[in-house]
């Protein structure tokens, strides 16, 4: 059961359109809200002209800072600095980025609201914004708070200067990446419905309980008065982790109008309003002896944030634990730009940081004339070099060796431009990957129902990742029944509390709670000398007990093992590219990910997760770039024709290997979580392959043809 390649239990619902996403709930008397956005990046609104919008057909209300309902503490009641979601809730006239919400038009129909929103005019006292990352670099300042609440912003071990001095070879390089916008397939959306003082939100989210708490605080109402429902979320990648402005605006309007209001963002509105991976500028210094032993590592990251929140991309966390090097410094700095606040984006920190670290390691291997895998093995961290703790499990050595064997690494020619296939230079490259194996408290309820079905409930989320399927498997496995006998329910704050579905938490946290609840139910049934293996025997058991469901609840949380072990997933990515020798175009022709990510609950959905992550990384590497006008801060390529996510023609056959790993420490199931790591390492593997193909080292993402074409060492 666990470990079987079970097809998605919600697959049929999805392909037939019957899966209900939050914007699809049929609600009576629904009104449609459309957000009005600023057309300057920085300044104050001096006047609104809403007359035309108000008199436009179908318009129910037009809200701006002039008339929006006042919220407690000007809408900042739920703020948790440094980056606690300062939203745009029409409580003042300040404008902090171009496209910021400055109004909400509500109408009988979506089209009417859209048109009326275009009729709202604002006058501004406008100031010159700071948009361009390179220009802003002199204003970089150290980030002081702990990262993600628990990691120091800067670290130092050993003596960096001495390590660099002792090195035979040194790398000193700068790596840059632009703002990358998540672009989940489903746009962000919310339906808000009040029944007296009770609010129901149908929300596209990764965290129903988080939304519930946040919204209660924002409105100053008891948490018990808010219910959040989210049965399916159409992709999120971090951008739906906490509520953005549209959720509050929908609830605000619904309360004022005493009728349900739906707000669905347009694709264009998904640029700036709902977070993105920030710009990063990373300075890497490596020092090594002739035999490859690292003597020094310095990793300083500067990432962009908004003018009004300190959101830091946790870029160097992976560098702290990746290699056994005793002299190391890491640090994070921020620059403030007049753009929307960034947020978590798949493999946050690691995706950016590993690009720089593993590109620099490749450069070091070239300098030392060493095989890149050999260099990594030379510095293999047998225990966590930062904490000194033992790994809970680590199969990176096998990832390197088995991955290399399957990919044909031994056929790699170290000399660039030595393999030609028609018009293209062919090259291969590799990268390591890592991501923390995190776990958070979670609860689940398992019930044997009068009809003989087993219903398991936990307020987790289905983001397209396969949560319904693996939770069903876990419960069925513990109870010894076929999966058809189990129905798993999620995405509702009336169900037991669970953490955010982010950071690869779900399988570990919710999975454990579901497992323990199902085990508890199993034990309870066993104590009753019951038998639930057939539907008839299960029904009899409930009837015998008086007809009420038999239930068991589990509250699972991580324990002391978290302090005793360092828990991380690892992997090795291999990529082959064909770079057109004349045109500079890069085509990924093969890719393999070899992963040690704990026990695999379902190899079919897990493989899809990894492939999805690797394709996400491919976009980050070759095409994705959120373009802003440096003078105005306008988001220029805010649609899917111009913001280039990979299409099928860009994606080759992708191969995935899982090491046989069952982590004895993380949780009773032995999982480590797989959502984030798929994106990590892809960028460096491809960049290193491009170098191997052409001799051109591109340190600035995305790797577009002009960066290769313009290189002096590149000529046909």
């Amino acid at each position: 059961m666990i470990g079987d390649p079970v097809s998605r239990v919600d697959g049929r619902l999805k392909v037939t359109g019957a899966a209900r996403y939050s914007a699809e709930w049929p609600i009576d008397n629904l009104a449609y809200g459309v957000i009005v956005q600023s057309t300057v990046a920085k300044g104050m609104i001096t006047a609104f002209d809403t007359e035309h919008a108000r008199s436009s057909p179908g318009v129910v209300a037009v809200y701006t800072a002039d008339n929006a309902p006042a919220l407690p503490d000007k809408g900042r009641a739920a703020m948790k600095p440094p980056a606690g979601r300062e939203l745009s809730l029409l409580q003042d006239r300040a404008v902090r980025y171009n496209g910021e919400p400055i109004g909400l038009v509500v109408a009988e129909k979506f089209e009417q609201a859209t048109h009326a929103a275009s009729l709202v005019r604002a006058q501004y006292e406008s100031h010159t914004p700071l948009i361009d990352m390179q220009s802003a670099l002199p204003s970089a300042y150290p980030y002081k708070p702990n990262i993600n609440g628990s990691f120091p912003p800067a670290t130092q071990r050993g003596d960096l200067a001495a390590g660099l001095a002792a090195a035979d070879a040194r790398i000193d390089a700068t790596f840059t990446a632009p703002i990358e916008t998540h672009n989940s397939m489903e746009p962000h959306n919310t339906i808000a419905q009040w029944d007296g003082d009770q609010l129901t939100l149908y929300d596209s989210t990764q965290f129903v309980y988080g939304v519930k708490r946040f919204i209660a605080k924002i409105f100053g109402i008891p948490e018990a008065n808010v219910r959040v429902i989210s049965h399916f979320t159409g992709g999120a990648f971090g951008s739906k982790g906490a509520p953005w402005s549209h959720v509050v605006l929908a609830a605000m309007a619904a309360r004022a109008l005493n009728r349900p209001v739906k707000v669905v963002l347009t694709r264009k509105q998904m640029f700036g309003l709902v977070g993105a991976r920030p710009h990063t500028v990373q300075h890497l210094k490596l020092g090594a002896r002739k035999d490859g032993t690292l003597t020094a590592m310095e990793h300083r990251s500067i990432s962009s944030t908004s003018s009004f929140e300190e959101w830091v991309e946790p870029v160097t966390l992976a560098t702290r634990l990746m290699y056994a090097c005793s002299n190391q410094q890491t640090a994070h700095e921020l620059v403030r730009l007049d753009v929307g606040t960034p947020t978590f984006n798949r493999g946050p920190g690691e995706s950016s940081g590993i690009f720089a670290l593993e590109s620099a390691m490749d450069e070091l291997a070239v300098k030392l004339a060493m095989d890149p895998i050999e260099l990594r093995l030379r510095n293999y961290a047998e225990r966590d070099p930062e904490s000194g703790l033992e790994w809970s499990s680590k199969s990176l050595r096998q990832c390197y060796s088995l991955g290399a064997e399957r990919f044909g690494w031994s056929r790699r020619r170290a000399e660039p431009r030595s393999v030609r296939d028609g018009d293209a230079f062919v090259g291969i490259g590799m990268s390591s990957a890592t991501y923390p194996a995190r776990r958070a408290p979670a609860s689940a309820l398992a019930r044997l129902m009068p009809d003989g079905m087993i219903v398991v409930q936990a307020a987790t989320h289905e983001l397209g990742t396969g949560t319904y399927t693996i939770m069903t498997q876990i419960a069925a496995d513990a109870l010894g029944v076929p999966i058809e006998r189990v129905r798993f329910e999620l995405g509702d704050t009336r169900l037991p509390e669970n953490p955010i579905s982010a950071g690869s938490l779900t399988a570990q946290s919710t999975g454990t709670a579901v497992h323990l609840a199902a085990v508890a139910l199993h034990d309870k049934i066993a104590a009753m000398r019951g038998d639930v293996t057939t539907i008839v025997s299960a029904r009899d058991l409930v009837t015998r007990g008086g007809g009420q469901p038999i239930e068991a609840r589990a509250d699972a949380k991580p324990g002391d093992e978290q302090k005793a072990f360092s828990m991380h997933s690892f992997g090795a990515i291999f990529a082959e590219v064909r770079v057109d020798a004349s045109l500079g175009t890069v085509k990924l022709s093969r890719m393999l990910g070899a992963y040690g990510v704990g026990r695999i609950l379902n190899p079919k959905t897990a493989r899809s997760q990894m492939i999805g992550g690797m394709i996400y990384g491919l976009g980050m590497t070759l095409t994705e770039d959120t373009l802003l006008d440096a003078r105005t801060g306008r988001y220029l390529n805010a649609d899917l024709a111009e913001y280039l996510v990979p299409v099928n023609a860009d994606i080759p056959e992708i191969d995935v290997m899982f090491m046989d790993e069952r982590d004895p420490q993380t949780n009773p199931l032995g999982t480590k979580g797989i959502g984030e790591i798929g994106c990590v390492g892809v960028t460096a593997a491809i960049a290193n392959a491009v170098y191997n193909a052409t001799g051109v080292r591109v340190r600035d993402l995305p790797i577009t043809l002009d960066k290769i074409l313009g290189h002096t060492s590149f000529a046909d």
Binding site: T39, P57, N98, E111, T114, H115, S118, D423, S582, L583, G584, T585, K587, L622, T623, L627, L628, D629, A630, R631, T632, R634, L636, N637, A641, E642, L644, P646, V647, N648, A649, D650, T704, L705, D706, L709, G710, D716
Partner: protein
Amino acid sequence: MHPFLYTLAADEPTARRIAATDPAAAFIAGGTTLIDLMKLNVEHPAQLVDITRLPLAKVEELPDGGIRVGAMVRNSDLANHMLIQARYPVLSQALLAGASPQLRNMATTGGNILQRTRCWYFRDTATPCNKRDPGSGCSALHGQNRIHAVLGASDHCIATHASDMCVALAALGAIVRIHGPSGDRALPFSIFHLVPGAHPERETALQHGELIVGIDIPRLPFATRSVYLKVRDRRSYAFALASAAVALDIRDGIIRDARVALGGVATKPWRSQAAESALVGKTAGSAAYHAAAMAALEGAVPRARNAFKIELAKRTLMRALARAGALA
């Protein structure tokens, strides 16, 4: 999107009468450009006259051996038409290099000739743009102009023409057939599209109320040896950074005649007679192709972020010529 009237025209006279009497009317066919720009409030016609029911969806042979294509022929149908594939492979390839299958199934021949630029400033009503709002200024000139034109631009506008089909038609010397209030006209492709000059808002020679009914592609036997090559940031569903449509007449190793047009680098579909002249009479091979590439990009003007396009266009053209030259 502004509210608008919609009329489904039953016949051509009706369609033209409505358009001629309403200065704010626009014809709509596939709508792949127009609806998109209406949603962005870049276009706001007061009335749409749907011409998709007009009997203009035929591909016919002309007595002289050319091909007549109706304005309503869908891009996907034209690309896959046997006559086009056999006689003008460059046109079929150009069509298939454009957009996505869904868009090609909607987009029409007449509409594609009128495809608007993808300049992001043109598409954003919050920024100045001389093409959208004459006299407001060109935001691209000193802005994000990596995708912009190096040929045919002015200080008023550096937006590229977005169509792939038009690049092939420019090379093939197509004739645009027009019916209008003051009679019927047939305009050679070379004068149909206009360079921006001081009036980037004027993109074609078409007058209000005139209807494109189709195109004629003249007989060009050597177009069987033709190639369209498109270079872009993504391998499908992306606009050209540079593209080349070429046809070569090679006999006994000597180039007797040639057709060359460039896309992605110019403000209109860019036929280069200079490149053609550089090829004719020369031995087919890299020396001639290189000379043609140099001639085609002669006078190209780079901006802050698009200088690479000059070299890219040269290499794209050389590659296209080499491929055409290698065809049997």
